[in-house]
Amino acid sequence: MRWSSSPSSHEAPPVVRRECSRIAGFLFISGLVLVSSFLLSTAAQRRLSVYSVAANYSLPVMQRANHDYVSLLELLDPLGRVNAKLDGRRWRIRYNNVEGEFIAGQNRARIQGRAADLSSIFLIENGRGLVPVASLSSLLPRFLGGPVTVREDSGRLFIGSIATHFTASLAAGIPPRLVFNFSSPVSPSVSTEPGKVHITFTREPVVAPASSTLTFGGNIISSATYSESNGLAEITVNTTAPLTPSFGNNGRTLTLTPASAASQASSPPPSSPPPVAARPAANSPANSPENSPGNSPPSAPSPSSYSSAPRHYFAVVDPSHGGDDRGEALSSTLLEKDVTLALARRLRQELENRGISTLMLRESDTNLSSDERAVLANTNHPAIYIAVHVASAGHGVRLYTALLPYGSGDNGLFRSWSNAQSSFLPVSQGAAASISAELQKQQASVRIVTAPLRPLNNVTAAAVAIEVAPPGSDLGQLTSADYQQLIASAVATAIAATRDKLGATP
């Protein structure tokens, strides 16, 4: 028997074809609308970076009626004691001892009883008071009692004399290296593309040198340009060869060495800490075709193979709870989610002061599930994950490492999600011991125990949770700047001291 096919016998009737093409067209247009709306929303997400002695952080900028707005409460929260009250259209805010009163829909406010003009009307959204970014340079000095510089175009706000200055010069050698000297420690991310190296500062108040273009005149490294936008500062180095970054002088010096010279060097200078903040991009030297897996014999993937992925941040700090999850109600007005955020901000600042690049999992009052926290931490491949909790019960600081659940071990190449922490447990316990020793040096009461606390068991890095209880019977000490600073500083010192051990983990 022979099978034959006739195109006409299999072809759908014209009505059906028309219907199919209409449905396909509809699906295509819907997809296009979804993709474009996603791209637009991503592009529209703008931020304001705030730099101060107390903390460096960033806030979302919202556009309303062609004006940029920020939440005043979120802006002042990391800087001091702040609370707000909504009474009809009146919104009152108290920052330390300064009181302000704003009325929704009006462009005049009162701060300490004196009138203050806003560039556009005050808005209230979901109980949050929004002020125009353009008015911050006049509003904030009256709350903070000091000078404030707002760079509206680039989304950067400097409180006090906080700026980090830098110089750049070509150091003698064959080939010459480009050396940046900063006035305070920095931990930028470094990425490369053909002919350029981008050094991006997300947390540091780096400001432009006298001229935004620096000319070196070298054969390999010719010039660099400084730019800032959307809360970021960036230095772009123009080069004809791939450059390898290395940090020294406790994060105050960044050296870019041509890759050929770097490979000839047998070892990095002993004074240079590991380049923890280097963030190789897809086409960086580390991922260049010469180093790609395609050029080496294929090998069977191992459970630890993904751990060798580029490390984006050395530490991930997780202010626990947030959004609908309030955590413990420490008092009628004090919630755990707010204190964890304040403490985490101090910890990040202390870590970055020690040249440790740090990612905060939430910057504001947002919802994050345990799984989302673990996924965010794991995809950044940090050396250490630190969850911050606060409690009213007991005294001092409790440090927790994961209590792994029953069974669900690894299955061949696949790792169990519940027990993902298992191979990192020894290094987590080492980190907890180091933090405990440092806290004891500061005369703090400390205890280490295991805990069934997610997402510790899902994290593929050293993972420690810190639960801070008041040192005495006064719950108000939980929000005391001195107490928070003591703990944040001790934890950061311990992590910096064990940086090499933590950085060496897979």
Binding site: H321, D325, G327, E328, A329, E336, S370, H389, A391, S392, A393, G394, G396, R398, Y400, L403, L404, P405, Y406, G407, S408, S418, S445, R447, V449, T450, A451, P452, L453, R454, N457, A465, E467
Partner: protein, 199 residues
């Protein structure tokens, strides 16, 4: 022309459908009229009586944040599962007392304990237990460790424990202690040892 028998059959079926609809409507109304008890506090079984037995309860103390072994004599039924339930109820009775070293909410109770071979125990707590529990890593951990360690120390052969709330899985006890996984009894026993040493 539709055959007559087909018309009759369709008519009969329609009448059945209408009849069923009316019946269901009435049943629905009757079910709605029955008041639902919000909290049924009636006992399901008589309290255990008979000879008492010497047991060890691992009691949580909030102030130093530790577990302490405490001997108790309580009447226990013969069945393994009922023994487990009575054991945990005896522990909760301590916590519900006004002078408790580890206060739990009023109305907190163990609904059931299921012992499933090999080595699995399922503790089903009531909603009041979890909803009124204080939040915090240590306070929640003390509760969990106290329940599991007391159970495994007095009922041999338990290797893993699952904690449910009102018969359902819950993510955490009160925002911290994980309830989504099975507890490894040997790991909890090690934790209990850590918690029995003073900080």
């Amino acid at each position: 022309m539709i055959p007559r028998h087909l018309v009759i059959a369709v008519a009969v079926l329609l009448m059945i459908v209408l009849g069923m609809a009316v019946y269901v409507w009435q049943m629905r109304g009757r079910a709605a009229a029955v008041p639902v008890a919000t909290s049924d506090a009636r006992p399901l079984a008589p309290p255990s009586v008979g000879p008492t037995e010497q047991l060890t309860l691992f009691v949580a103390y909030d102030d130093p944040g530790i577990l302490r072994a405490r001997s108790a004599r309580i009447p226990l039924p013969a069945g393994r599962q009922q023994r487990a339930e009575e054991l945990l109820r005896a522990l909760l009775a301590l916590y519900l007392d006004k002078s408790s070293p580890h206060v739990i909410g009023v109305g907190a109770d163990v609904r059931s304990v299921y012992l499933v071979d090999p080595g699995l125990a399922v503790i089903d707590l009531n909603a009041a237990f979890a909803d009124t529990h204080r939040s915090g890593v240590l306070v929640e951990e003390l509760t969990v460790a106290s329940l599991i360690h007391t159970l495994s120390a007095n009922i041999p052969g338990i290797l893993k424990v699952k904690i449910l709330v009102d018969g359902k899985e819950r993510e955490s006890l009160a925002g911290h202690a994980d309830l989504s996984d099975f507890y490894d009894v040997s790991a909890v026993n090690q934790l209990a040892s850590q918690l029995q040493s003073a900080p």
